[in-house]
């Protein structure tokens, strides 16, 4: 085989394999949503050990008016564009997250709580904790902590 043919064949294989590899790797990278439902109470108590140190610190800073935090549930969901996931809440309703895909480096989400007829469209970056809070629950409120990965 001549040298030029070898070079052309190598180049072709390189381009083809790169294309197939990058596409397949990107296609197999699902977006992961971690959700924690926390009860923030005004009754002083020890902070739940099930809550990670990082989130406990964040909860204390953001919800300083509450004295204690207790983890009610924790879930990890794989998000798919156009699909919804339900997060059960202890107040006989669900919080619903719909994933609308990714634009640039932000994930597009719709968070809705049907019982309260509230719907919000969000742009959320990966690896950034954010909260939905305020629903009353047992001398305190519910805090939904979200983290996209």
């Amino acid at each position: 085989m001549s040298i030029s043919r070898s070079i052309m064949a190598s180049l072709f294989c390189f381009v083809a394999a790169s294309f197939v590899g990058v596409v397949s790797v990107q296609a197999k990278k699902p977006v992961e949503l971690r959700v924690a439902v926390v009860h923030a109470s005004k009754v002083a108590s020890k902070t739940d050990r099930k809550i990670s140190k990082r989130m406990a610190k964040s909860l204390g800073a953001v919800f300083g008016q509450y004295k204690s935090f207790r983890l009610l549930s924790k879930d990890v969901q794989k998000l798919q564009a156009g699909k919804t996931v339900k997060i059960p809440l202890p107040v006989k309703t669900d919080a619903i997250i719909k994933y609308n895909g990714q634009e640039k480096k932000k994930h597009k989400l719709t968070l809705s709580i049907p019982k309260h007829k509230v719907k919000m469209k969000l742009s959320a970056p990966s690896k950034k904790l954010f909260y939905q809070a305020g629903i009353r629950y047992k001398k305190g409120i519910l805090v939904l902590a979200f983290y996209l990965k």
């Binding site: 070898s6 294989c13 590899g21 953001v62 640039k104 309260h116 509230v118 970056p125 690896k127 954010f130």
Partner: protein, 203 residues
């Protein structure tokens, strides 16, 4: 006649016996009329076959015989220089010859000739994929959140739109610092307290 004698006779007629064996076999034939008769029959048959083949070969057309063999050899293992030039014409000419086994042989031949560029290309592609997919190392002293914020130019979650048809109040608390988080408050309004007393200024 035994099998051994039959074998000796065949080797005798083909001239494969050594001088000593040949002499011994000729002595044996002197004592065996059956061997002599068999030898005569074989010689007659051989002469007839040679004559027949000679006649056939005069009639047969051997022009292109060598070229046909060359072509079949090329199909099994194409010469590097001839492979490309004649591949298109070969495909058209040899459709009847190309079966599954032939295709397999051609694929093997192709791999033997092209494995080097294929492996080089695959290795280069693997390197590219590795660098494309590998996440960048965060700068020293920066947390993941800071990295994302720096990359996006935004510190946290942004509420694009709110649809509120209920009685609750939605309040979005945006972070003032990088280590803070966005909070979407759904304030469970204290309806009784919010109701102003008649005549009272509501704010």
């Amino acid at each position: 006649m035994t099998d051994h004698e039959n074998e000796l006779l065949n080797r005798f007629l083909d001239g494969e016996l050594s001088d000593a064996d040949r002499e011994e076999f000729e002595n044996r034939m002197k004592d065996s009329s059956e061997l002599v008769a068999m030898r005569d029959d074989f010689e007659v048959i051989g002469a007839m076959l040679r004559e027949h083949i000679s006649c056939e070969s005069e009639v047969a057309d051997f022009s292109g015989f060598t070229a046909g063999i060359d072509r079949l050899i090329d199909l099994q293992e194409p010469a590097p220089t001839a492979a490309f030039e004649s591949s298109v014409t070969r495909i058209n000419e040899d459709k009847t010859v190309a079966g599954p086994s032939n295709l397999l042989a051609r694929a093997e031949s192709w791999w033997r000739r092209n494995w080097t560029p294929v492996m080089l290309g695959a290795a280069a592609a693997a390197a590219v994929i590795f660098f494309v997919v590998k996440p960048a190392e965060p700068p020293t002293g920066l947390q993941p959140n800071d990295e994302v914020a720096a990359a996006t130019g935004n510190n946290g979650v942004v509420v694009d739109s709110i649809s509120n048809e209920g009685k609750k109040t939605v309040l979005v608390s945006m972070p003032a610092q990088q280590d803070e988080s966005t909070v979407i408050w759904l304030l469970d309004g204290e309806e009784d307290d919010q109701e102003p007393v008649e005549g009272e200024d509501p704010i």
